[in-house]
Amino acid sequence: MNRTKKITYLTLLSALAVIINVVENLFIPPFTFGIRFGLANIISLITIKLFGIKELAFVLILRILISNLIKGTIFGMAFWISTSGVILSAIVIIILDKLRASLLFTSMFSAIAHSFGQMIAIVILYNQINIASILPILIISSLATGVLTGLISNLALGRIKIRI
């Protein structure tokens, strides 16, 4: 795949991730304990399967910056919390991809890592260790949303026909 084509695909994926993130934030309010679907993780999974680690980092950085610029939360408290979740889940995705784990498992584990990273940031920023008591509930809901995003990205990967 030549350079221009690759850049086009990566920007397309970044734009998709931004749109999914912003639309999810606008139309699906978080449930109790701030449980969300995390649909933007679909794009991360697709990117690591189609391209690789460097491209995943590119798409994620663009997604974080642009979606937070649109939402108007850039460099605020919520920005750092969500960013630490994204970083930890990206690390997990990369490690599990190296270990050749299945997509569903990667998705579920990265969802857990996402809530873990957010929890670490909340504990550090707000200095409230008690809030970690809702972590078991978050982990169980992460398993459920991880199955959802994993199935969707499996379906999407089956239909994408890019020659790399």
Partner: protein, 111 residues
């Protein structure tokens, strides 16, 4: 999905369920709520399971706390933004602290 992955998921699920049950059992009957000022001095400490109504003098105006059915909230507070009032009911299941910046007060559930 491979077999080892399934086992890992089941183990994580069981650990999470265990901790939820553990938290439920371990939660004490007497849950104390403390009101602190900006210098971490405890102004008031009360049991969340005893219905009551407390009135405090903050650095901006009066600050009232309503305790009912194992929950508590800030009510009738003299401050410009009313962020503490909009925090709503807090309880063991929703342990967010109520913070009022103009009155320099923090209402939080203790461990």
């Amino acid at each position: 999905m491979k077999k080892s992955e399934k086992i890992t998921i089941i183990i994580i699920f069981l650990i999470a369920v265990f901790f939820i049950i553990f938290n439920r059992i371990n939660s004490k009957d007497k849950i104390m709520v403390s009101v602190k000022d900006a210098n971490d001095n405890v102004l008031l400490s009360f049991d969340i399971n005893e219905d009551n109504y407390y009135t405090l003098q903050g650095s901006y105006g009066t600050f009232n706390i309503e305790v009912k059915d194992g929950k508590c909230r800030a009510i009738d507070v003299e401050c410009p933004n009313q962020i503490c009032v909009h925090t709503g009911w807090i309880s063991v299941d929703n342990p967010v602290p109520i913070i009022c910046l103009p009155n320099e007060l923090i209402v939080s559930i203790d461990e």
